[in-house]
Symmetry: C3
Subunit: 412 residues, 3 copies
C-alpha cells in the first residue's frame, strides 16, 4: 500500500496544456470569426439540437462508458473531457483550413462545431484502446495526432477520389480503431496480462458505465442523421438497428456462456454495434429490414469478437486494448462498409458501374486503413518516449497515479 | 454463499429471443416501409425532439428508477432495455395493422415510433410489479402479451365507442397497473414476505434510482404533450402539477413518519403522481390552478397509498409488487380519470349531455380495467408454467441468477 | 453510533410546505392563466427545448453537483428539487406582478417558466453555501427570500437605471454568491472547522458529482443563449469558453499541487467558470478569441480562488461555504462584469460615452452587491432563529438527520 510513487507530471501536464491552449487562442484570434449572419430561428434550433445531442454523446456517453474500471472512474471521465475539448478545438482549426485558404478566415458556426465534435469522437475511439496505460500528456498528444490524421485522410479522400463527406466522416469508427490498435501494440508492456485486478469492475462502477452506454444508445440516431439529407430514414433505421442489436447481443451472450448467463460487458458494448454499422452504410440503407438485418449481424460479429477475439489479440499479437474498440467500433464498422458495397452493387443495373464502384469503395477502405495504421505507429513511437513519464506498470488503471484525494474518506 | 444454482436459461433465452427477433425482421421485411415523403425540416426536428424525450424516459428513466434494489441494478436496467425494444417493435407492427389492411404496407415514421414507445411504456409499468421475481424470458413474454392487450383495448375503444387516441393511450397507467397487479397475484410465492434483505437498498443505489426518477420528472411534460394539440398548455400544466407533487409528497412523507423524517422512496415515486394524473385528464385541464390541485391531490393519494396500502396488498390480497406501481401509476391514473369526468360534467351546460358523457367515460374505464384484469390473469397463467424456469425464491432480486461476473472485484 | 437524536421536523416541515403550497395554488387560481394563444409549432418547439435544457440544469445539474458530500447524497439531490420547485413557483408570481398590475392576470407561457427557473437557479447558488448546515425548512425560507431579493433587485435596476433584462438576470451569479456568503457568515457555527470527516467524499459519490457537473457543462450554452438575440454567437462563445476553462483548470490544478496531481474538486467546479464569466459579459463578446480568453482567465481565477481562498474565508472571515460558490460563481461573475466594462469602454469612440457607461455599469454592480449583502444578512438573522430547529453540529452533512432508512442495507 506504500509503493514506489508515480512520477510527478507537474513539469509535463501544466506546460503542455498551457502552451497548447494559449497557442489555440492565438490561432483563433487571428484566423476565426463566428458566422452569425444566417441567424434564422428555425435553422438555429435545428442545428442546435444536433449539436447538443452530439455533445452529450461525446462528453457524457464516451466519458462514462469507460468508468467500468474499478479504480479509474475519475480519470476515465475527466481525461475524456480534456481530450474531447482539445481535439474539438484542433479539429475546428484543421477543418477550417480550406475556408481560410480562400477567404483568409475560418468561419465558426454550429455545423462546424458538430463536425469538429465528430472528429473528436474518432480520437476518443482510439483512446479507448490505451486508456489506463497512458498519462494525460500522452492522451492529449495522441488525440491531436489522431485528429490530424483523420482530417488529412478525409481531405485526401475528398480531393483525390471524391468521397462524399458523409461517407468519409463515418469512417471514423474504422480509422479510430486501427489507429488505436497500432498504438496499443507499440506501447505493449510485458506482463500486462497480469495486471488483472485493477481491470475488474464492481457493481456500482458497472452501473455508471451502463449509464454512459445508454446515453450513447439513445442519442445514436442523432449522430447518424447529422450529415444525412433524409433524416427521418436515418433516425428510423438507426433506432431499429440498435433495437435489434440489443436483443441479439443479449441472446448471443447467453448462448455463448457455458452457464447460460448474461455478460454485463456484452450488454454494455455490443448493443451499440448496430448503430456503428448502420452509420457507415447509411447512404444506401432504404428499408427497415435492411437496417434490422445489419443490426442483427453487427451484434453477432461484435459479441463473438468480444468473447473470443479480445484474449487472442492479447496473446497472439501482444495487443491489449482496454475498451475492446475492435469489437465495438472496428468489426461493426467493417461490416457496415461491406454492406454498403453489397447493396450498391446489387442496386447497379450496369456491370461496369458496379465494378467501378467496387474499386472506388475498396480503395477508400484500403487508403483509410493504411493511413490509420501508419499514423498509429508513428504516434505510438512518439508517445513511448520516456520523457512523457508514462505510469509504471503497478500504477496502471489507477486513479491514484494522477489524482490527489485529500478529502477521500477511508471506508472502514 | 454456495447455494443451489439458479437454473441455466441458455436453452430458453437464446432460442426465444432469436426466434422473436428473426420473426420481427421477416415481418418488417414484408410489410413495412419508412415513410419519408413528408421530409420537412421543421416537421422533422419537431417530432424528433418528442421522440428523443420519450426515448430517454423509456430507456433511462424507467430503467434506472428500478435500480434501487441493492443487488439487482444490472438486471433492472438491462432487462428494462430488452423489454422496451421488444415491446416497441411489436407495438410498431400491431399499430400498423389498420394501415396494412388498407394499403398493404405499414408506414413507419417518427410519430409511429413515438406511439410505439408509449405502448412499450405501458408494458414497463406492468413489469414494475413483478421485477425481481421473474426471468428475462418471462419478462419478454409478459411485455408482448401486455402490448397486445393494450393495443387491442385501444382499438376496441376507438372503433366501438369512439374514444379519441389521446384519451385511450393515456389509459396506459391504469391498464399497466391492473395488468401488473393480476400478474403478481397469479405469480404469488408463499413466504415472499421474508425475502426482505435483498429488497433493501443502499445509499448509492438509491442515488441511481433518484437519477432515473429525475429524468422521468424532467421529461414528463414532453410525454404528456405529444398527442395534444395545445402543447403549451400541456407543458405548463404538467410542469406545475409535477412541482406541486414534489412539495406535497415531501410534506406528507414527513407528516406520516413518526419521527418526522423523509422517506427516500416517497421522494422517488410520489413526486411523479402529478404527471400521471394530469396526463390522464389532459384534454379538460385549462387553468394552472386545476393542474396544481390535481398534482396536490395525486401526491396525497400516492403517498398515502405507498405508506399504508403496499403492505396491506401483500398481506390481504397476496399481491406483492416490487415497484409499488399501484401507488405511482394506478391511483393517480384513476384520480386523473375522475377529474376528467368531474370537469367535463361541470363544463356541460346540458343535463343530457353530462349524463351521456358520464356513461361513456365510465364504460371506457370499466372496459379498460376488465381487459387489463383478464389479460393479466391469462398472462400470469401462461407465465407461471414451470418450463420457463423462474428463479428460485432464494435467487429473487439477485443479479447473480442471470449474470456472470468473471471480472467482478471482491471488496475486502 | 447512538448519538443525541436530530430534532423532529414533523411540526415544522409539513405545516410550512402545506401552507406555502396551498397559498401558491390559491394565488395561481385567482391571478394566473396559461397564455396559449400564440400556439405556433415552430415557436413552441423553439422555446420548449430552451425550457428543457434549463430544467435539466436546475434539477439534475445543480442537484447532483452537490452529491459529493459522502453522507449527504439524498439530501443534496432531493432538497435541491424541493427548493427549485418552490422558488420557481414564487418567481412565476413575482415576475408576473407587472403584467398583473396592467391586465389583472399573470400570463404563463414557456418563456415565463424559463425565466422563473433562472431566478430559481440564483437561489440554488446561494444555497450551495449553506448546504449541509441547514434543514429543509430553512432552505425553503432562504430560497423564497433570495428570489424575492433577486427579482426586486432586477425590477429596481430595470426601472431606475434601465438595465436590460439580459444583463440584470445574468447578475444571478454575483447576487446569489454574496447572498450565500452573508448567510453562511451569519449562521457560522463555532468549531465548524472540525466537522471535517463528513465533508469528505468517496469515489462513487465523486462520480455522481461529476455527472452533475457534466450536465451543467453540456447545457450551459443553452443557459447563456436564452435571452440573447444572436443565439449562434452565444452558443459558440459559451462552448469555447467552457472548453478553454476545462483545459486551464486541469493545467492549473496540476501546477498548484506539490505532487503534480489533479484535484477532483477543481475538475468538477472550475471547468464551469468560463460559462459563468461569458454569461455575464455575453452582450459584448463578439469574437471567438474574446470568449476563449475570458474562459482562460475565469478558470485561473476560479482555481486559484478554490485552492487558496476557501480556507482563508473560513479562518479569517468565519465564512464556511460548502460548495465554494465564491470560486465557482462569484469570482468568474465579477470577472465577466469587468470584461463587459472593459470591452464596452474600448468599443466606445467617445470619451463621454465611455465614462457614462462606466458609471452606469459600476452602479449596477454596487447596487446588486448592496442588495444581496443586506438581503443575505436579513435572511440569515431570520433563519438563525432557534424555532426552525437547525441540525446539531454533529448531524451536519448527514442524511440521517432528515431521512428514515427502514430498508437501508447494512454493509458487512
Amino acid at each position: 500500500m506504500a509503493p514506489q510513487y508515480a512520477p510527478s507530471l507537474r513539469a509535463r501536464v501544466a506546460p503542455l496544456l498551457f502552451a497548447l491552449q494559449i497557442g489555440f487562442i492565438v490561432i483563433f484570434a487571428f484566423y476565426t470569426e463566428i458566422d452569425s449572419k444566417n441567424v434564422h430561428v428555425t435553422n438555429f434550433s435545428h442545428f442546435y439540437s444536433d449539436f447538443q445531442d452530439v455533445n452529450v454523446m461525446v462528453i457524457l456517453g464516451f466519458g462514462f462508458l469507460c468508468t467500468f474500471l474499478v479504480r479509474y472512474g475519475f480519470s476515465a471521465s475527466a481525461f475524456n473531457l480534456l481530450v474531447a475539448v482539445m481535439a474539438t478545438q484542433w479539429a475546428l482549426i484543421l477543418n477550417g483550413i480550406e475556408s481560410w485558404y480562400y477567404s483568409g478566415k475560418v468561419r465558426l458556426d454550429l455545423k462546424s462545431l458538430v463536425v469538429a465534435e465528430i472528429c473528436a469522437a474518432s480520437a476518443l475511439v482510439s483512446i479507448g484502446a490505451v486508456l489506463g496505460k497512458t498519462n494525460p500528456v500522452q492522451l492529449v498528444l495522441i488525440s491531436l495526432l489522431e485528429v490530424s490524421g483523420f482530417v488529412l485522410n478525409q481531405q485526401i479522400l475528398s480531393i483525390f477520389i471524391k468521397v462524399k463527406p458523409l461517407n468519409s466522416i463515418m469512417m471514423l469508427h474504422i480509422f479510430g480503431t486501427f489507429f488505436g490498435l497500432m498504438l496499443t501494440w507499440t506501447l505493449y508492456r510485458k506482463g500486462s496480462e497480469y495486471q488483472y485486478e485493477k481491470e475488474k469492475f464492481d457493481r456500482k462502477m458497472g452501473l455508471f458505465s451502463m449509464l454512459g452506454t445508454l446515453f450513447l444508445w439513445m442519442f445514436w440516431p442523432s449522430f447518424n442523421s447529422i450529415l444525412v439529407e433524409n433524416k427521418i430514414r436515418a433516425v428510423c433505421s438507426t433506432y431499429l438497428a440498435l433495437a435489434v442489436s440489443a436483443v441479439t447481443a443479449a441472446a448471443l451472450s447467453v448462448l455463448s456462456s457455458p452457464k447460460g448467463k448474461l455478460n454485463p460487458i456484452h450488454l454494455q458494448s455490443c448493443i451499440l454495434a448496430g448503430g456503428v454499422a448502420v452509420g457507415v452504410s447509411m447512404s444506401v440503407v432504404h428499408q427497415p429490414w435492411e437496417a434490422m438485418t445489419i443490426g442483427f449481424t453487427a451484434a453477432i460479429v461484435s459479441t463473438i469478437g468480444f468473447r473470443y477475439l479480445k484474449s487472442h489479440m492479447q496473446l497472439a499479437f501482444q495487443c491489449h486494448e482496454t475498451c475492446a474498440v475492435l469489437s465495438i467500433h472496428g468489426l461493426p464498422g467493417l461490416l457496415g462498409w461491406l454492406v454498403h458495397l453489397l447493396i450498391q452493387i446489387i442496386d447497379c443495373d450496369d456491370y461496369t458501374m458496379a465494378t467501378r464502384f467496387a474499386v472506388f469503395h475498396i480503395s477508400t477502405l484500403l487508403f483509410t486503413i493504411a493511413t490509420s495504421l501508419s499514423m498509429g505507429i508513428i504516434t505510438g513511437l512518439i508517445i513511448m518516449w520516456n520523457c512523457w513519464r508514462p505510469p509504471q506498470d503497478k500504477k496502471c488503471f489507477d486513479d491514484q497515479a494522477f489524482w490527489e484525494f485529500p478529502h477521500l474518506i477511508v471506508h472502514k
